[in-house]
Amino acid sequence: MFALIVRRLALGLITIGLVSVIIFLGVEALPGDACTAVLERDAVGEALEKCRETMGLNTPALTRYGAWIGGALHGDFGLSANGQERISDLVGFRVRNSLLLAAGALSVGIPLALCLGTLAALRRDTWVDILFSTGAILAMTIPEFVAATLLILIFAIWLGWVPAIVLTPADAQPLEFFPEFILAAVVLTMLMVAHIMRMVRSSMIDAMASDYVQMATLKGVPYWRIVFRHALPNALLPAINVIALTVAWLLGGVVVVEVVFNYPGLGRLLVDAISGRDLPVVQAITMIVAATYVGVNLFADILSLALNPRLRSHQMRVR
């Protein structure tokens, strides 16, 4: 088991390494560089040369990659192109804000999704199931900017219960975001619940139709005990990976929602950096998002190994 985790971890690190190379090469391949972006029309002749020298852009690509990745390992992504700010300072608060938003959505969303999915499965083909399933389809099909705009219209403009958008600066205390970020969190929760709920519902239906649930019934096990002890643990296994994908998507910065609500998270920073052609910042954010995806999926893999005895001993045998 331990060796298995170590191996998965090593594979994850290799993946992140490959991603860093791809990101670096991708940015390299773009026409222009940080200097042309900053100097804009003045990016000719001596000014350009000088700028490149100060930013270290005329050294070989390999050296620059080494310096970049070395810094990134220490949490130092260098300086941003236009503002001459430290990227780590710039990104730090944004990461925290995105985490804050994700935590809000996840802490409500995951338990809600599990409950709704289980309930829909147990009341399959009744009005409960139809209501929940239709709701999920709706939440998944309406684009998030439409849903966000509608929510703003209803709750912020018509009812006036919550502020429409976030005006708090990025480096404010977490609690200061409080009433403002609710609508953004609600939009994310809706989407997330829809995905996870559908997965839980279908695997729960399979589990309830299985031979072992029939056997448990004929062993005289009470209904709710069957649901929680025999069916649910088995039904959750396939759901874990869907949950992981959703979590990664949330942590990686949800660009559209952050932009609509003007929320100072990683996603909006990415949009700003792209429109300002701030390539070092783009590089840094992409790297963070990639690492988050790898990390969360790794965690989900290990979690499902830990929860699924069949998978666990199979893996052991293969090894």
Partner: protein, 675 residues
């Protein structure tokens, strides 16, 4: 009857709602009564409603089914009238169930200990502190080795036989008065089956339980039951004492069923029962069996026969109980098996084939770590043109692995596979030429999994015909019809999809597909084990015909020794991926024989109340073959000594191509072990 019956089912009708709201019956007017200490066997083909009946006895109906009429009285009260609380108390407690497939009936995420503990918690008055001791005691009762370790295992970490024992232990945990068994040994090896039945018989006697035993296998019923109820299309057609029903059944269906079972001593193929039972819920006015009955008259088709007294103390649903003896019940009344001439040239040669599933990792190779013993090792065989070679052994004996290697689905680690005896075949399918692929075809065990459910029979058959022979249009159509005729299905089957066919029909389509390539060699992997006995007989007959007409060579893998016997010219016995014995069928099935062959033959259950299988060795799951010496050393009842653990046994020839691989001298193998 001195005491009232414990389970008393009266006029039970169960059905499902079809399209248009009509109710289609699955069980029709079934009566049965079982007293304490009595065991009743329920026999029927798939779809006869036998499992529905067993579950109904617990007051449980599968999704979509509903009770239409009748009562299921357990201990004086109707199960369907009880409250959910009462049902929970009885189920798993006084009324236990042993399910058909324990592997799937145990919750995969819970340890065995937790699952047994749950029953104790629900149904047992013992204080919690004693539960573990009780669980260990139960597992010891079902003769599981090292019960303490088993409590901590998960279901998938046990073998099929062990899972079945755990299910029995779990049923016993509730200290049942009555036990319902739904095909508890179907799918287990002969030896394991014999052990489990032995255990159940003993438990029934010591605990004085009422048992209802559902099975399609009359051999199993003969072994464990006092009385037998034969179910056909949801109706009781015959009920009577087991010995009488097995010796001289008073219903034509039961007689035909007996005749379709292959037996070890048979020289001829069993007789197939033609046609198929009416589909569940279809309406019929007369006798349900009339269409397939040799005695049927016009009256049979219009008038539903009542239960009447038959021979001995049986009651039968037949209008002519006096005439039933016209139907022969002896097995082996069918076709004479086709024999291949002994001098025909080789069609396939295996030289020292060794197969490993485990691939040595780079690290292990660098460190020169010793590999585990190979799954299959040193198999050398010759299959002659037109010959059928039977391969027998328990699960895990490597039979299917060898077939996969021959078919090119699995590359052997060492050794060669030659067509005839000169053309080296590529290790995998990609490395073989189309004409080599065409000459070797395989038919799999489960036609549900090997036929594409989205393709019609025509699409399935046309693929090999287009690929190998370039047939188009009318020629293609004619060839497909000819193939279907050869497997006794008409042209009308061309448009059907696998979902619309019965199990036997699907397997015939699979055979037709193999023959579409006009192969020289057909590999059959347990092709009848998923089928009902009556259908199985028809498939055996078909293979025999094909062998006669086309001169095709077969390798026939099965765990059913009786089937292998009637169909094979030669038989190879495998244990743990190593050959133990090989030779002409008659020689292998008589003396002298390898101790393992002896163990297998003794464990066979025959539909004969006087026949009892002998258990020569404990049944134990071996996960990997021993590193040295004889593969059978750990279970051999007549082990020669230390030499068995150190040296690989030599091949001893008895003449006529019969060879036994054992350290014991042939004279010692001459006598039947223990008897």
């Amino acid at each position: 009857m001195a005491n009232p019956p414990l389970i008393d089912i009266r006029k039970l009708c169960i059905g499902f709602s079809g399209r248009g709201g009509t109710i289609l019956p699955v069980l029709h007017d079934v009566d049965l009564a079982v007293c304490r200490g009595e065991s009743l066997g329920i026999v029927g083909e798939s779809g006869s409603g036998k499992s529905t009946l067993a579950l109904a006895a617990m007051g449980y109906l599968k999704h979509g089914l509903e009770k239409i009429d009748g009562e299921v009285i357990y201990d004086g009260v109707d199960m369907f009238a009880r409250s959910p609380k009462e049902l929970q108390r009885i189920r798993g407690g006084k009324l236990g169930l042993i399910p058909q497939n324990s592997g799937q009936s145990l919750t995969p995420t819970l340890r065995i200990g937790q699952q047994i503990d749950e029953v104790l918690h629900l149904h047992c008055t013992l204080p919690k502190a004693l539960h573990e001791a009780r669980a260990i005691d139960l597992l010891t009762q079902v003769r599981l080795p090292d019960p303490r370790a088993i409590l901590r295992r998960y279901p998938h970490e046990l073998s099929g036989g062990q899972q079945q024992r755990v299910a029995i232990a779990m049923a016993l945990a509730g200290e049942p008065d009555a036990l319902l068994l739904d095909e508890p040994t179907t799918g287990l090896d002969v030896t394991t089956q014999a052990h489990i039945l032995d255990l159940l018989r003993e438990l029934a006697v010591t605990r004085k339980m009422a048992m209802v035993y559902v099975s399609h296998d009359l051999g199993v019923i003969a072994r464990v039951c006092d009385r037998v109820l034969v179910l056909y299309a949801g109706e009781t057609v015959l009920i009577g004492p087991a010995a009488e029903v097995l010796r001289d059944p008073a219903h034509p269906y039961a007689r035909a069923l007996l005749a379709s079972i292959p037996r070890l001593c048979d020289q001829q193929l069993p007789r197939a029962l033609n046609g198929r039972p009416p589909s569940p819920g279809s309406h019929h006015h007369g006798c349900a069996f009339a269409q397939r009955c040799a005695l049927a008259t016009e009256t049979c088709r219009t008038e539903r026969p009542p239960m009447t007294a038959g021979a001995g103390s049986q009651s039968t649903r037949c209008l002519y109980p006096d005439r039933v003896s016209e139907i022969d019940i002896r097995g082996g009344g069918g076709a004479v098996p086709m024999v291949c001439p002994a001098d025909s040239p080789p069609a396939l040669t295996l030289k020292d084939v060794t197969i490993r599933y485990q691939r040595p990792s780079l690290l292990a190779r660098l460190r020169h770590r010793a590999l585990n013993p190979a799954t299959v090792e040193g198999i050398s065989l010759t299959l002659r043109h037109g010959e059928s070679l039977g391969m027998v052994g328990e699960s895990g004996s490597g039979k299917s692995t060898i077939l996969k290697a021959i078919a090119g689905l699995l590359a052997p680690a060492e050794g060669q596979i030659l067509l005839d005896d000169n053309t080296l075949l590529g290790t995998t399918v990609e490395r073989r030429r189309p004409d080599q692929l065409r000459r070797l075809q395989i038919v799999f065990q489960n036609p549900d999994a090997s036929l594409n459910p989205r393709q019609s029979v025509a699409e399935i058959l046309s693929q090999p015909l287009r690929l190998y022979f370039g047939l188009r249009g009318e020629a293609l159509q004619d060839r497909m019809v000819a193939l279907l005729d050869a497997v006794r299905l008409g042209a009308s089957y061309l448009d059907r999809r696998p979902g619309q066919l019965s199990g036997g029909e699907k397997q015939r389509v699979a055979v037709a597909r193999a023959f579409a390539a006009d192969p020289r060699i057909v590999l059959c992997d347990e092709i009848t084990s998923a089928l009902d006995v009556s259908v199985q007989a028809a498939v055996l007959e078909l293979l025999n015909d094909l062998k006669r007409v086309h001169g095709t060579a077969f390798i026939f893998v099965s765990h059913n020794l009786a089937i292998v016997r009637v169909l094979s010219d030669r038989v190879a016995v495998l244990y743990q991926g190593r050959l133990c014995e090989i030779g002409p069928t008659a020689a292998v099935y008589s003396q002298p024989s390898h101790p393992y062959t002896e163990v297998l033959l003794s464990a066979v259950l025959e539909p004969d109340p006087d026949h009892a299988p002998r258990l020569l060795t404990e049944d134990r799951a071996e996960l990997s073959p021993p590193e040295r010496g004889c593969p059978f050393q750990r279970r051999c009842p007549v082990k020669a000594g230390a030499i068995c653990e150190t040296d690989a046994p030599p091949w001893q020839e008895t003449g006529n191509g019969h060879a036994i691989r054992c350290h014991l001298p042939l004279t010692a193998l001459q006598n039947r072990i223990c008897g």
